[in-house]
């Protein structure tokens, strides 16, 4: 605002009195622009280190990794000739002799390549169709001795080359810019003819996990709100001396390692744990019928609610601190009941705190990983645990990237929705 105002002013003066000049004779307008540019540059230089840091260690690595979700050149890089031929094939007709010949030739080339990429290519194709790994590595060993007609030679080497499935898997693997991983992340299969079809029912898992992740995150957000709101209210109304003391009780677990808190919950909730022992002792449950509170969804919900509670209490507290108590007193003196005074006067003023706390807890919960991994058992694990699984044990980093991409899009969508409904300006962190 200040910039445009001063520019207008100088422009105005300029037309009124010819052209105004600075002491050294340059037009004033130009000098002003220079001064403004310098101050902007100075501001930019100040944030530059942080910007560069975020770009280098956050934005660029994420973008590079996410590109793996739709870009996989393993096949095309090592077997370029057959990739080109497979691209031209319609994916449904009988594979031609040319296709057999060029795949055989590429296999010979790949086998003599110093990087030994046959295994990499085989692993890539195997992701599309189980069993093709040994087919490709096995055929590559024999490919050098093959002679035309290659169709017969390859089918003789392994009869799986006669299957259309094999060739369709090759075609999908040969597509470098591929939607196959994103399709897999949504329980679908990308076929050689360019269609998407539902994954075999017994292998469908990711959509279900996304929904479960959403459900757990929502329940945890709601639970932290219900539990945290009265605590924050109490803290904000007590005299400072006492509330500061109580605030330490909120912060103490916040400062404790997540691992320690999670394992503490295991000790409390497990079959032979404190809570079950107590319940058996008072006769609430029988000894043979102990409650299963951990290694399932219940365990995940309890532990996550506890761990994320401070993220709800702190924004709520800081907002409630700013609500003048005289407003509620005024409402009551005008005849409002306790409930009306709370609901119509106090509560609306705490909405920015609820918005901030809710969004914070929800976003943290949706990507939560270590707690569900430790206490989630089978039905309490979340999508992040499967991203981890593909990163660490199956080594399918492309699928991990696609799952992460879907999660990111999902979170951005929710953020947009939140902005539309509540308004992002209507949020206060402190």
């Amino acid at each position: 605002m200040a910039v445009t105002a001063s520019q207008d002013m100088s422009a105005g003066q300029g037309t009124a009195a010819g052209s105004l000049t600075a002491a050294d004779g340059t037009p004033l307008k130009q000098r002003l622009a220079q001064a403004l540019f310098r101050s902007r540059m100075r501001a930019f230089m100040l944030v530059c280190p942080l910007l560069a840091f975020i770009l280098c260690v956050f934005a660029i690595p994420i973008l590079i990794f996410m590109s793996r979700g739709f870009y996989d050149n393993t096949y095309e890089r090592f077997m370029p000739d057959s990739a080109a031929v497979l691209q031209k094939w319609d994916g449904g007709s009988e594979p031609s002799e040319e296709m057999f010949a060029v795949v055989a030739a590429d296999l010979v080339k790949a086998r003599s390549h110093p990087d030994k990429p046959v295994g990499k290519v085989a692993t890539r194709v195997n992701r599309e169709l189980s069993g093709t790994r040994s087919l490709i590595t096995g055929t590559a060993r024999k490919a050098k001795k093959m002679e035309a007609p290659f169709k017969d030679a390859m089918i003789k080497a392994n009869k799986k080359w006669a299957d259309l499935d094999t060739w369709q898997a090759l075609k999908v693997a040969a597509t470098t810019l591929t939607p196959a991983y994103y399709a897999a992340a949504l329980d679908m299969q990308y076929t050689a003819t360019g269609e998407f079809k539902a994954q075999d029912e017994l292998r469908q898992i990711y959509v279900k996990l996304f929904l479960r992740t959403l459900e757990i995150s929502l329940v945890v957000t709601l639970a932290t709100l219900v539990l945290g709101y009265p605590v924050a209210y109490l803290l904000s109304t007590l005299p400072n001396r006492i509330s500061n003391l109580l605030l330490i009780l909120v912060l103490l677990p916040f400062w404790t390692s997540i691992l320690v808190r999670t394992t503490a919950w295991i000790a409390v909730l497990q079959g032979q744990g404190v809570l079950n022992d107590l319940a058996v002792f008072i006769g609430f449950v029988s000894d043979d019928d102990r409650m299963s509170l951990i290694y399932n969804k219940t365990g995940t919900l309890i532990a996550m609610t506890h761990i994320l509670l401070p993220f709800m209490i702190l924004p709520l507290y800081s907002v409630m601190k700013t609500v003048p108590p005289s407003f509620v007193r005024a409402a009551k003196s005008l005849g409002a009941t306790n409930w009306t005074a709370f609901w119509r006067v106090y509560f609306p003023q705490t909405i920015p705190g609820i918005g901030a706390g809710g969004l914070l807890v929800f976003i943290l919960a949706i990507g939560y990983y270590i707690t569900p991994a430790l206490v989630g058992g089978q039905d309490g694990v979340m999508i992040s645990n499967f991203i981890d699984n593909h990163m660490r044990s199956t080594l399918n980093w492309s699928l991990a990237a696609a799952l992460g991409g879907v999660l990111l899009i999902f979170v951005l969508f929710l953020y947009w929705l939140y902005d539309r409904i509540v308004g992002i300006d209507n949020m206060k962190l402190g």
Binding site: D115, K116, P117, V118, G119, K120, A122, T123, N126, R127, S130, G131, T132, R133, S134, T137, L202, R203, Q204, I205, K208, L209, G271, Q272, Y295, G377, Q378, D379, V381, F386, N389, M391, R392, S393, T394, L395, N396
Partner: protein, 358 residues
């Protein structure tokens, strides 16, 4: 991950003996617990004494993820890793591991060339086996008696209670089929058909509610000791260690045991490749493999080590009957088919995870 530098203090004097070689520190990665301990005793300590080099011993839970991450990032910190057979094959396929030339591997103590001395399949393009281990099931004899075979593992009426199983399809699917009456030599044939996979999962379904899933090899003996499970699948050496070294009343049932190799591999671009190679050659020599067998009940991968295996290090337990390769234990044994797993693990892992989550 736990890093534990091995004590070296007493060995300083020996450094001068091999002054020609600069002192190096290599990172040896293995499975932790009783198993790593047996390697420290049988391989690390004598090697440190011989060469004056140092060893940092790290634990991991198997899989190639860390190796892949290190190799792809060009920042390899591990020098030599103890892996399962299917990972050795896959890692070699994917170009993550250094190739090992067979002529570099020394002959056995009796002069047999390495190719003949090692058990079939123990030397691969990128890996050399050190032990033969197996997945078995075990139980606490003070609580459970009269177990006949794998069928009983799935019999919740005769033996009610929780079962411990590794959270992975490997070994579980094979054992489920054997328990369902498939002859042990037909298991992979059946498992190669869609109906066979359905059959295995259907069998797993019958005990699904009762399963406690474990991931680290040290967990199953702990689960048994805590009474969390009545029976559990486990790596045979871990149960042996608990039973003999820690005097727990655990018993191994060898019916349908699944044999597998553990192999040394060197990641591509290992920082101390030559020293790691030296360690590999040293630790897979006849004496070292035999020495390891006196600390844990895993069979040595060299034939020439067999006759040297004697007593457990307590000085009284005969090791032979506790070995997975003992004649009596091999009757219904199954050798892990790494080709099958390398081909099908993506699909079966997916299906197993979907099955678990439902």
């Amino acid at each position: 991950m736990k890093t534990k530098p091995i004590l070296l203090s007493a060995l300083g004097a020996l450094v001068f003996g091999t002054a020609a070689q600069a002192e190096e520190t290599i990172t040896v990665v293995s499975w932790g617990g009783a198993y790593t301990k047996s390697q420290v005793e049988a391989y690390h300590k004598p090697w440190i004494a011989k060469t004056g080099n140092k060893i940092i011993s790290e634990d991991y839970n198997g899989g190639l993820s860390e190796v892949k991450a290190q190799v792809e990032a060009g920042n390899v910190t591990w020098d030599i890793i103890d892996v399962e057979l299917s990972d050795a094959v896959r890692g070699c396929d994917e170009g993550l591991l250094e190739e090992i030339d067979i002529v570099d591997i020394p002959a056995g103590a009796d002069g047999t060339p390495a190719v003949e001395d090692f058990i079939d399949g123990a030397i691969r393009d990128c890996a050399v086996a050190n032990i033969v281990w197996s997945t078995i099931f075990a139980y606490d004899t003070s609580e459970t008696t009269g177990v006949e075979g794998l069928k009983d593992f799935y019999d919740l009426e005769k033996f009610p209670g929780k079962r411990g199983m590794r959270k992975a399809p490997k070994a579980n699917l094979e054992m489920a089929l054997i328990a369902d009456g498939v002859p042990h030599d037909k298991v992979y044939e059946v498992l190669s058909t869609p109906e066979g996979i359905d059959q295995a999962f259907a069998k797993l379904d019958t005990i699904k509610d009762q399963v406690v899933w474990w991931e680290a090899g040290a967990q199953p003996p702990q689960l048994l000791a805590d009474g969390e499970v009545v029976m559990t699948t486990a790596y045979n050496g871990r149960i042996f260690n608990a039973a003999i070294a820690e005097d727990k009343p655990f018993e191994v049932n060898w019916d349908g045991q699944i044999l597998d190799f553990d192999l040394w591999v060197i990641p591509k671009g290992a920082p101390h490749k030559d020293a790691a190679m030296d360690f590999l050659k040293f630790s897979t020599a006849t004496e070292q493999l035999a020495a390891q067998a006196s600390y844990i009940s895993y069979g040595p991968a060299r034939r020439s080590s067999g006759p040297l295996v004697g007593l457990f290090n307590d000085g009284k337990t005969e090791m032979a009957p506790h070995m997975p390769t003992a004649e009596a234990n091999l009757k219904t044994a199954l050798v892990n088919d790494f080709e099958f797993w390398a081909d099908n693990q993506d699909e079966l892992n997916e299906r197993f995870n979907a099955w678990l989550a439902n």
